[in-house]
Symmetry: C2
């Protein structure tokens, strides 16, 4: 591996500058991605290792990020458990049938990832042979997958999922336990296939009420981390939990190595809370990348300055890059972070 500063920053080791990668960096803002997308549908792209690997490598070569993240989707785990996926054009992947009853939950299996998710593992193996930066594997958090399993129209109130935990908490816990096993087995398999770090996406933790977050999301994330760490204690685990400043102390305490924070978090305060025990990834508002070079430079430097001198910062956005981001703006961001961050690594 030629460039391992991302891994060093995850572990708090000394680096010459701040590493950068971008959530959803293998995606629609890249003209090279759109070319492939014209010929294949999304599901074919994630299920064909050669395509998934090619797309994973694109931002590493074109944008010059310090880590790759395997091109896939968090919904592959529920699919492997038994919920068939289809593409609702313009809206993204959806399940053919949502979870509604106890027998729906019982019918779900804890899949063997080397069988049911072999295409992701193959894509990881293939990618690892062709890149000289670390590769990140990932999964959705149990609660976030749970939330999608109950909704035809995700991204709104997640009414069905929340209603289920309020009215059928025992069954909800049963499903979350299954999901935790499936998620952690999959993360372990990704590491065994060559992933150098993993990220857990708790995109919808922030919609839960204060107590429910701990009971239905955080507890299962901590359990998944424990299962992965018991097999691979040296592989960094990044935890991205969106809109959850109110639980930051508990998030830091899950056993993860890196917390990934959105733009509503103050990175300076987050660093103080972290007490240098975890690294911090983030936290530029993706909307900034829709603006112009001077604004992008100004906002990137603001974050570097706020984090201050130290080795435990990984630059990233606070959420996935927006599909309509001009590709040149992303280059400006990466170059700014690469050059300007040197001042904070003396």
């Amino acid at each position: 591996m030629k460039n391992d500063i991302f891994l060093k920053a995850c572990k708090g080791e000394k680096t010459e500058r701040t590493p950068i990668w971008i959530m959803r960096q293998a995606g629609r803002y890249l003209p090279e991605y759109r070319k492939i997308r014209q010929r294949y549908d999304f599901i074919t792209m994630i299920k064909t290792p050669e395509l998934a690997s090619e797309i994973t490598i694109q931002p590493i070569e074109i944008i010059g990020v310090d880590a790759g993240i395997i091109f896939s989707d968090i919904l592959v785990v529920p699919e492997a458990m038994g919920l068939k996926l289809y593409i609702d054009e313009g809206k993204g992947p959806r399940f053919e049938k949502n979870i509604q009853t106890e027998s729906d939950i019982e019918n779900l299996c804890v899949p063997d990832p080397t069988e049911k998710l072999k295409y992701v593992l193959n894509a990881i193996e293939l990618t690892k042979r062709n890149i000289d930066v670390p590769l990140i594997g990932f999964a959705g958090s149990p609660w976030t997958l749970f939330a999608y399993m109950f909704e035809n129209e995700p991204g709104k109130d997640f009414k069905n999922a929340k209603l289920f935990i309020y009215t059928s908490s025992k069954l909800a816990h049963k499903l979350l336990e299954k999901l935790t096993l499936a998620v952690s087995d999959f993360l372990i398999a990704q590491i065994e296939s060559g992933a150098d770090a993993i990220q857990i996406f708790d995109t919808w933790g922030g919609i839960l009420s204060y107590d429910e977050f701990k009971e239905f999301s955080l507890k299962y994330i901590a359990y998944a981390i424990e299962r992965v760490k018991s097999k691979f204690d040296k592989i960094p685990i990044i935890l991205f939990s969106k809109g959850t400043w109110q639980w930051i102390d508990e998030i830091i305490a899950t056993g993860c190595d890196v917390i990934s924070i959105d733009w509503t978090f103050d990175i300076k305060k987050a660093r103080i809370k972290s007490n240098e025990k975890v690294s911090i990834q983030g936290n530029l508002d993706p909307v900034v990348l829709l603006s112009e070079p001077e604004v992008i430079k100004r906002e990137a430097i603001k974050i570097l300055e706020k984090y201050g001198i130290g080795n435990r910062h990984i630059f990233n956005l606070g959420h996935g890059i927006l599909p309509d981001t001009p590709f040149e703006n992303v280059k400006v961001l990466v170059e700014t972070v690469k050059s300007e961050s040197k001042h904070y690594h003396k």
Copy 2:
């Protein structure tokens, strides 16, 4: 006024039980509301004082809440400033033309509310003659109105509004100053027409980045509060800022009398932070009201218990009631709070 426990709780005075009202309580979940809605469109309903007043009174009589809130919409202020409204059926009110340029901003006026918003003031006067509980007036926060002024499709990323503050911050401040004058003049006029308390809805503060919230939202809220307080220092001001736990100390310090918190806030921690200087309104997840009586009772009691013994709690939801809420469930909530809260007022 027969029942003023809502006002007493705003001021921290002793009451026998916890008062309750419900955000968006005059709305679609009520069969009586839907009857009127069949005959008139939304804009006619808010612009006809007799209709607005009748709708305002419905939940007071039917559900038995301890305060009314005038039936209106936060977008009436931008309309009075010069942005014409129309109804996009199924989606709600929209502007015919959004703000895009400097001259769009210059063309907006700071309206005289006794002229341009007379229909709201008349509805308040009419309502006051017919109720025996306090009446709440309201307005959107300057930033929240700003956010809507830039978007055809609000409720998503508010990309245009955010992009504008990143790239044209001076102009953004100019518009926010205008909005602050318009909002505070309107709140003052509502008090002069009989409103006993007012609420500022900062629904979209929580989408801003950490520093931008203070610069583009909180600063203008504090200024609006200052302007209202300089005329009416005894009228309680409630500040609802959604998804903003990270700024709770600053929100408490704005000069408001009550903070209204969503379900992601821990009401116990919020009370400790408030140091009994402000009252706390909230914070049931509206999804709970879609469930069943036992769950509603359990969750309501949980919040009463968490707040604990004291006079500074106003029971409410963490956001507006969902339109598909069964009306009987709301009655269960109100009855539970009325009877159970007595244990916390010894």
